[in-house]
Assembly symmetry: C2
Homo-oligomer: 288 residues x 2
């Protein structure tokens, strides 16, 4: 089974490196060519175009920044759908709208190949540690083919969300919303502790060893306390993109999300103030 990987960003690179350990003939492509270097040095075959990669592969993984990017690389004469062989599989790991997955699923159907939404939760360190959580939805048979490859890619868990192509994307957006909400909460809580004159580190130590003793509060709590927002593991620009997707999905489904709206406004303001390259935990900077 020939495997390809498109999108060698902060998270894509360690996932592709994991796959390469199990699939020595991995083919890779990235729009910015220089980012293929680490993979090339480890033995991956670098393709010059998406068309070249897609036409040579049985399974193509993609992880790109946003809905426009995944549509661009999937659609059209030189896109994945047209060039992937019959019954080939496109595994789409990007965080995108469910509606985008539904549209891409249909395009692949037209070309008699397959699209599977498979967004991933985890920062680059989690990919290196092979502790990624994948959410997946779509055709059962295709999922059963893909699951072993996800283990190769660094999965600690694969969570199945049924047949609808966009379901896994819903799960991912909801999860990212929860992380953003926790960032907002920590920012305000830490600020109140500081300004009220107690040791905010001691307080965070208390809550993260009792009621909130879980990864999100422990790890992001440290970033917020230390204002360690550079370099970004996941950029504020991408955080804003996710907040905008969450708002779109909320509007489409008639879901009231006052906190979601607040977070989106804050990300937008920080983006406008020039913080786009900071980590998305820099949401804390909106609390003065």
């Amino acid at each position: 089974m020939q495997i390809g990987f498109i999108g060698l960003g902060n998270l894509g690179t360690p996932i592709a490196e994991n796959l390469l350990e199990h699939h020595k003939d991995l083919m890779v492509y990235n729009r910015t060519r220089s980012k293929t270097k680490p993979l090339e040095e480890k033995g991956a075959a670098v393709c010059k175009s998406i068309k070249e990669l897609a036409s040579a592969c049985d399974v193509v993984f993609t992880i790109v920044s946003n809905d426009a990017a995944i549509e661009e690389i999937t659609n059209g004469e030189d896109g994945i759908a047209k060039n992937l062989k019959e019954d080939g599989i496109h595994v789409s790991m990007s965080t995108i709208l469910p509606a985008t997955s539904e549209a891409l699923f249909k395009i692949h159907q037209q070309y008699k190949n397959h699209y599977i939404a498979c967004p991933v939760a985890g920062r680059p360190e989690a990919a290196k540690d092979k502790k990624l959580n994948f959410m997946i939805s779509g055709d059962d048979k295709i999922i059963s083919i893909i699951k072993p490859l996800l283990n190769d890619a660094g999965a600690i868990n694969v969570w199945e969300y049924g047949k609808e192509p966009g379901n896994a994307n819903v799960a991912k957006l909801c999860t990212n919303y929860m992380i953003q909400a926790a960032l907002q909460a920590m920012s305000e809580g830490i600020s109140l502790a500081q300004k009220s004159g107690i040791d905010e580190r001691q307080w965070m130590q208390m809550i993260t060893s009792t009621l909130f003793n879980c990864g999100i509060y422990i790890n992001y709590g440290r970033l917020v306390l230390e204002k360690a927002f550079l370099p970004a593991a996941f950029s504020l620009e991408l955080g804003l993109k996710d907040a905008a997707l969450i708002k779109k999905q909320a509007d489409k489904t008639g879901t009231a999300m006052p906190l979601g709206n607040l977070i989106k406004q804050e990300y937008q303001q920080l983006f406008d103030e020039g913080y786009k390259d900071h980590d998305w935990s820099a949401l804390a900077l909106s609390i003065k």
Copy 2:
């Protein structure tokens, strides 16, 4: 050492029962007399007035609903401060403003006895399981006398926040804010999952076994999913009271808390709509 306990509500009762296991001569008082019944049946001595209890005790624990109630039972001719013996200790477990603790500390100083802020985190089940987290601040010597009694009262941990009388109250308000913020986040996240057509229970199962695998999300997540808001372990009325204290403290210290403000507004609206006796996790009902 003669010990007394004032305030036999949902949380006060199991804490007093814990103390009674170690201090057979425990004295208790509650404004509504009928609530002393469970303690009386287990052998506690019921006092007819605060004055009677305070004048007989070396250490008086109090846990009451709000700042006005703690001021009322502490101050005046018949209050704890005037009637407690010299060097007696008032251990104040209520969730109140730091400024209220500072004022009560001074009143006790006038009467040459002691006030210690010692708010407690934990629902009634946690008290029964002896897994309460106490936050404490004040004079070192007094704290060293009180700590063994807190173990008797059901502590799993005692967190010390320094000498300032109100510091422990700051830690408690910040902690309750974090719980309210997590409730708001879960409410919106679960609603978005539902309305987008995925199984919200499966999604909560995923996040509470991965990124959010901590008590607050696991236990309150269940309440929100099941809309199990009655009977209340901690009432929405008290949740609104806490949200109001958090806002007061934020305003006093110049802390921007947009999410804190949102939560207070939502609690106020639910209170006005008649939900005051529901659990404070009924904050979820504000998300339609």
